[in-house]
């Protein structure tokens, strides 16, 4: 941590971020009750589930009542796509964001003006915690689009009043040119892209200390390690802070690290985190690893009650040296399902399977090989050659391969390398087949 010269903690909203926990609990209870009522009155499927569980909105008065509510799952967003989970009329929704779902359709979330406001506040807190002020120049190298990264970082920086460079992702030479010319001080992108930018900067002979004005970065949307943090900090001469978010809950900024870099503070006045035993659904105490579950308590567009993230981590309410009282979540140490995050995109093996099943003559035997080469994730999809796909001409087989590649790109949203392998060469296993080999060192 050689670049952490002086820890000067900045807090965007001390009243909320340093709130007395008893007071917070009371506020959460009130907001939860209102959210449950809104959900019960406006979202038919959730009302049915509450009725089936014998829970009435008036039963939910405090945070301790949360455990009586049924869970929501990513599959719910797929099953009730696109508007089925919205609790506000379409006219009140001002923005749609989305990410890949478990099969072909994306999952989408709708925000009201108020939801965007909350999200912007959460990202303003995130950037402030990394040291951002209105004097700063924020380069957003997350993609702008349905993906929440670009807009989330932009809104937060805008809220603070910083100068924003909405670069979107890619075009590294131009990113570096702007970074140098404009004097970027805060960088927002995925940690793997930050590494790539850092290495390119070094290759170009640019000394970050002399030629750049970077001081910090907020990096998220994919899992990373402490080693990657140190590498990025040394390459770019910055403080690298981890951020966490998900489209279903808000986008980036649900949780963020302060300069203590000791876990991510969860914006608990807007979301309530729980850790559960993924097998039983039972709540677990702080300090115990388990599945992270979020309940939004200020959203009105598409509120989520007890949404299961399938991310495994630990929560702690130990007081942080930065002064915030918000609980912190540790790094995500795994998943309870088979979701992969590849180049910031959520990928489910079932999506690939759906592509193969729908392609004529193609067998649904496949293996996904994920790796990280030159700081960029790679996905190889091994598909067994069948007689239906086979031909005596290369061009025919290449067309089949290209078709599969294009379909995967269109369904999953990322480029892959399809490799045709010999029949029966992919191991069959009884029960749940092993479909993924992840060679990334995370």
């Amino acid at each position: 941590m050689i670049y952490m010269a002086q820890k000067q903690h900045r807090i965007y909203n001390p009243a909320m971020e340093c709130i007395d926990r008893e007071q917070l609990k009371k506020l959460q209870g009130e907001r939860l009750a209102a959210t449950v009522k809104l959900e019960y009155e406006n979202v038919a499927v959730y009302r049915e589930r509450m009725d089936a569980a014998g829970v009435k909105p008036e039963d939910i008065r405090t945070v301790d009542d949360l455990k009586y509510l049924p869970f929501m799952e990513k599959t719910d967003l797929r099953d009730y796509y696109p508007y089925g989970l919205m609790a506000s009329p379409k006219s009140a929704i001002v923005r749609i964001h989305g990410s890949s779902g478990t099969t072909g359709k994306p999952i989408v979330s709708g925000d009201t003006r108020g939801d965007l406001d909350v999200w912007s506040e959460m990202m303003a807190r995130t950037l402030t915690a990394a040291g951002c002020t209105s004097e700063d120049i924020v380069q957003v190298a997350y993609g702008f689009g349905l993906f929440t990264g670009g807009f989330g970082a932009y809104q937060g920086a805008d809220r603070i009043g910083a100068m924003v460079l909405p670069m979107s992702s890619g075009n590294t030479q131009r990113q570096i040119m702007m970074m140098k010319d404009m004097g970027t001080s805060i960088l927002c992108c995925t940690p793997s892209y930050a590494t790539y930018l850092g290495e390119t900067v070094r290759e170009m002979g640019i000394d970050p200390k002399r030629h750049l004005k970077l001081k910090a970065g907020c990096f998220g949307a994919e899992p990373w390690t402490e080693e990657m943090r140190q590498h990025i900090e040394e390459l770019l001469g910055i403080d690298a802070c981890d951020i966490y978010g998900l489209t279903e809950i808000a986008g980036p900024g649900v949780a963020f690290e302060c300069l203590e870099k000791h876990g991510m503070h969860i914006n608990e006045d807007h979301v309530i985190p729980e850790i559960i035993n993924p097998a039983t659904g039972e709540q677990l105490p702080y300090g115990t690893p388990g599945e992270l579950v979020f309940t939004t308590i200020t959203k009105t567009g598409m509120p989520m009650l007890r949404y299961r993230t399938h991310d495994i981590c630990t929560l702690t309410d130990e007081k942080c040296a930065c002064g915030r009282t918000l609980v912190r979540m540790g790094r995500i140490t795994g998943r309870t399902d088979d979701m992969l995050v590849i180049r910031g995109v959520n990928v489910f093996p079932s999506q690939i399977e759906s592509v193969l099943v729908s392609a004529e003559g193609v067998a649904p035997h496949y293996m996904l090989i994920v790796d990280r080469v030159n700081n960029s994730d790679t996905l190889e999809v091994q598909v067994e050659m069948t007689e239906g796909m086979f031909s005596d001409t290369i061009s025919h087989i290449e067309n089949v391969r290209k078709y599969i590649t294009d379909q995967i790109k269109s369904v999953v949203g990322i480029a892959s390398k399809v490799k045709l392998v010999a029949p029966k060469s992919i191991p069959r296993s009884e029960g749940k087949a092993k479909r993924v080999i992840d060679n990334r060192k995370l």
Partner: protein
Amino acid sequence: MFIRQISVFLENSVGELRQLTELLGKNGIDLLALSIADTQNFGIVRLIIRGDKVDDALKLLRDNLYTAKVNHVVCAEVADRPLGLCELLTLIEQAGLSVEYMYSFLRGSGQNYAHMIMRLSDGEKAMQLFEMHNVRVLSQDEVDAL
């Protein structure tokens, strides 16, 4: 008058081709002609064997988990001298046909001809063309006897 060709899918890795030829050889299947088309990842091996062995070979390959298919290709006689092949290709080109792939026999007839195996964009049309221009096309029996 087409002849039967077996094509086999192979992964592009060490030992694959040897294993294939070993399997065929140990089962008494003699290769009359062979070509390999390869990409970075995979290859297609095309084989001509005696007509009466094609069905057995196909079964053998499938039993041993190879992806294999039988296709019908043309075996045409070409004068064994400079421009011999060129003249045939000129005919094909002028008729608006295209050669999808082509390879030659491992063994010749010992005369002044070479034998080319080819797949053309329109096989039937090619047959008519060859007949019209007296290009000799070998039958499976003639191939077997080479």
